[in-house]
Each structure stands twice: as C-alpha cells, then as structure tokens.
C-alpha cells in the first residue's frame, strides 16, 4: 500500500515539475533523451574501451610521487592519519575529552607530516625533490594555509589601523597581490626568491612554492577577515572598552575570534581553492598530483590515455575537495551553536 502511494506521489511530483506546460515538457524530454544517450555511450566506453591499467599499475606514483618505495609507509601513515581524523571528526562519538583534543590533533598533523616526509631523528632523511603526488599537494595546502592565516590576520588588522602609513602599505600589498594571477606569483616565487636571498642560502623548490602560496593567499584571507571585522558591531568594542580592556586585548579577545567565526565559510573556500591551485605547480616543475599525471602520460607505455588519467585525477581532486567542504560545514555547524544573534 505504502509503495503505491509513494509511486503515485512521485508521478504527481514529476508531472508538476517536469511536464507542467508544453515548453517544459519538450525541454525535459530532450534532456532525458540526451542524458540517456550520453550515459549509454559513456558506460559503453568505460566497460569496453577504457584501459584502467594506467591507473592501477601507478597507484603508488599518484599517492607518493617518486618517494623511495622502502619509505613509502611514511607518507602513507600521514595520509591515513589525516583521513582517520576526518572520519573521527565527522562520525566520531560526542565525548567531551575527544572533541577537546581533536583540535590539538589536527594542529599536530602538520609537524607530524613534515617529520614523516623529511625524516630526521630515527628515520632516514629524504630530499624534498622526491616528494610528489597527492602527498605533495596536501603538504603544499596544509603548510600554506597554516602560514597564510596569521599573515592574513595581521594584514587585515594593519589595513584597519589608525596609522595612515601602515594602512597604506598593507592595502597596497593586498591590492597588488589580488590583481596579479597566481601562476605569475608562483613562477616568480621560484625565480626571484633565490635572487633576494643572501649568497649561499638556498631554499628548496617545495618551500619556495609554500612561500609564494602564502604570500598570495594571505592577501585574499586578509580581505575575508577584514569583511568579518567590519561586520562586528561597534557596540562590542564599546562593551569591551568599558570593561577596561585595552586596544590589544580587545583585538585579541573580542575582534579576532569573532572575525574568524564570521569569515569561516570564506576561509574554507580559500583553502579548497588553494588545494585545487596546487595543481599549477605541475607546470612549474613540481611533480604533485597533476604533475604525476603528466609524467605518466609522457611515458611511452601509456601514451594517449588522456581520458582515463584526467577522469581519475578529477575524481581524486573532487573527492579531497568534497571532504574538505564537508569538514568545513561540520565546523560551521558546531560554531553556530555558540553564535549569537548580533
């Protein structure tokens, strides 16, 4: 009985939304036919023509790049810990001690990753030119986000400063960075950072990239945080200053925490964008996820298998971005509980 009413409801609903009038009916029908054709073709290709060996036989390459095979457990451990932290954050139990320590655990993943990748005490050191694949993309994303957040906050505060010189300098920086394309910042970061360093000091390519990403993203983060700062009502500052808090205490305890909360959705978009943009390093000499794809396609064994590789890469990027977006929404929901009606 239940099923029949459900089916009737479904048909009524489709009639209302798909076939409400003549034009709508035609559009719907055309689209249904086209989608069917595309799906038919695509499935046919996926089953008969696609050769997934280009993916399956290169999985370690996509994940770790040219990291020495004997040491690949290290980046694997790191990625696995990130993944399991995400799962615990999203689906884990609501124990208080767990929720309190999750933030510390997340903050700890970056030093853990650097230790596991670079090696050092107890494990053999590895040069950064062996980093690659998804590991490198994630490393670039996490380190650059970590550094650009404080820099962005400082820039945003400077742009609001009462000292005209500081205000001017930081707005020039922010505006120039936002006016130029990311690829030029990354390219010139690779080229120019060595030129600005004293003779004898060298920074490896990975850190040059992280530096350039940080310079670029912090300008965007600064604008997001400035938006957050501007939407804090001035009565909050009045209340804080009538409690005797000084200017720096107001910034530290009242303005920054609230601005970060307000800017949170924009900030998570920035870090998702940052993860996608790490792909630009593929044309600037780092072998991150897309770079691995390119080098595999250059291998005579797999030549011409563009579709398989690109679809696979798109799926990986899509998957990681989606995890990031879901985590961000989770964080926003938790914050909303203690967000007041201003």
């Amino acid at each position: 009985m239940f099923n029949i009413t459900l089916i009737i409801l479904f048909f009524q609903n489709t009639r209302k939304t798909l076939f409400s009038n003549f034009l709508n009916t035609i559009i719907s029908l055309i689209f249904i036919i086209v989608i069917n054709l595309i799906c038919f073709k695509a499935f046919g290709w996926l089953i008969h023509n696609a050769n997934w060996k280009v993916i399956t036989s290169n999985l370690p390459l996509y994940a770790f790049g040219s990291f020495p095979p004997a040491e690949q457990w290290r980046p694997a451990t790191w990625i696995f810990s990130l993944l399991s932290l995400s799962i615990i954050t999203l689906f884990g139990p609501e124990w208080k001690w767990l929720r309190k320590n999750l933030l510390i655990a997340w903050a700890g993943t970056i030093p853990l990753g650097l230790y596991l990748l670079y090696g050092g005490i107890g494990i053999s050191p590895i040069m950064s030119r062996h980093f690659g694949g998804l590991t490198l993309s994630i490393l670039l994303t996490t380190c650059s986000s970590l550094f650009s957040l404080p820099l962005g906050i400082i820039l945003a505060l400077c742009r609001q400063s009462s000292l005209p010189l500081i205000r001017k300098l930081s707005s020039i920086y922010i505006d120039v960075m936002r006016a130029v394309p990311l690829i030029s910042v990354l390219f010139f970061g690779q080229l120019l950072i060595p030129l600005f360093m004293p003779v004898g000091i060298e920074i490896d390519r990975v850190w040059r990239a992280i530096f350039a990403f940080t310079l670029f993203v912090s300008a965007y983060i600064a604008e997001d945080i400035r938006g957050g700062l501007q939407s804090i009502p001035s009565t909050q500052i009045e209340a804080a200053s009538s409690l005797g808090l000084n200017k720096y205490q107001i910034i530290q305890f009242i303005l920054i925490p609230q601005a970060l909360r307000i800017a949170l959705p924009a900030l998570t978009n920035q870090s998702i964008g940052l993860f996608q943009n790490t792909s630009l390093m593929a044309i600037l000499g780092l072998v991150e996820l897309l770079g691995v794809g390119r080098s595999i396609l250059a291998n005579p064994e797999f030549i011409g298998q563009y579709i398989e590789v690109y679809i696979w890469l798109a799926c990986v990027y899509w998957f990681v971005c989606t995890i990031m977006a879901v985590l961000a929404r989770h964080l926003e929901q938790r914050m909303k509980i203690n967000q007041a009606n201003f």
Partner: protein, 248 residues
Amino acid sequence: MNPIVIAKNLTKSYTKGLRALDNVSLTVNQGKVLVVMGPSGSGKSTLIRTFNGLETFDRGELNVLGINIEPNHDERKIQKIRRRVGMVFQQFNLFPHLSILENITLAPVHVQKRSQIEAEDYGMYLLSQMGIDSHAKKYPSQLSGGEQQRVAIARALALKPELLLFDEPTSALDPERINEVLDAMRRLAEQGMTMIVVTHEIGFAKDVSDQVLFMDSGKVIETSTPEIFFSNAQHERSRKFLNQLDKQ
C-alpha cells in the same frame, strides 16, 4: 558625603551647533541612586557615556572617582576609570563567542590580573546572586533577553566597581522580562551601590532613586527628589513628559 561624580557645565555639540549636552552640572554621592529621565534624543545616554569616556565633551569639568577627565581625554587615562566603573547597555552587548562565565571572567583575569580560579569563583557567586548560575556554561544566544541583561549586570559587577552606569537597561526587553532585571537592580541599590540609571521605568525611579534628573535637548530641566518630581514636578516640560509616559 563622598562625591563619586562631579560634573560642571559639561557641553558637547555635534556639527551645526546642535548641542548634545548643554551646560550640564550634577553631583552624585556615594551610595546614592540617580535616575536620568527625558525624551529620546535629549542627551541622557550621551551624558552617562561621558562618565566612562565612551563619549568626549567639548567644555566643562568632569571628575569621576576623584580623577579628572579632560575634554579630549587620553585613552590610557580613561582606562583607570573604566576599571572602577561598570556599565550596562540597552542591547546587553554580551560577547557572543564566549560562554556566560567567560563573559564575566574576561575582564577580571585580563584587566585586574586575578587568577582564573578566583575570577570563576567570584563569577559564579555573582551569577547565583542574579539567579542564573545554572546557565554558566551556555552561550549568550541561548538565553532570553532578561537573562542576558542579568549576565551583563554580573559582568559589570565582576570588576567590583564603585559606580554602575545603566543605559536604558530594560528598553530592549519584552514587557514580562523587565521586572527580573529591575529586581536585580533594586537589590544592588539596597546593598549600597552607587548607580546612575537612564530609564523610563517610573516605578523603579519612585522606589529606588534618591534623585531624579530630567533632561531635554541637552539641558538639565529639573533635579528633584522622586517624591517631588512624580507628584509635583516643578517644570512644565517635566509634567508634559510624565503625562505622556502615563498614557503609554
């Protein structure tokens, strides 16, 4: 008698010669309650906000808790006064990202450098005085307006102030929530707190205040005891204002 606030000929004008304060003089002694009344835009909020430096003034003399405030004051100097003067706002102005208890302990810990434990103990004591200690771990948005305003009073008390300023504390509340806040203020007055209250609540002014100050367009029209002001106001404008309040 120990004067807490002495103001002489305070004058503040906005552009185009519009005066927010026009030669305002008053004295509030220790342990007394002054109620400031007047139509909206009469300058009463501006007046009490000058007492803790949220507003500046152009001319006149102002002495709060024995410290002179100059017309264009220095932020640092005003902080000494703000640590000893509590303020309660019309819109509560609680910090939305902090829990109730954190709202209260913020200033004692960071301004007076008291220990976290001591500040929390005293904060819980204040909350229980206000009858809202069960909400200590909640956030402002989870509380009703009346509860939020009582938290705001507790927050102002946490610095053990010698003077409390109230800027229309009940105007933003639902009518059925007003009394819980007024009761808390009554208890404070009974304990001997010096208070300056901007309000339209006639009942509160009659019962609690020692003096009523009536302002209109920046001028002090009348200063009387509540008995005289509410039964036999001396000035035509005061009577008109009271009539209008009665009608509402």
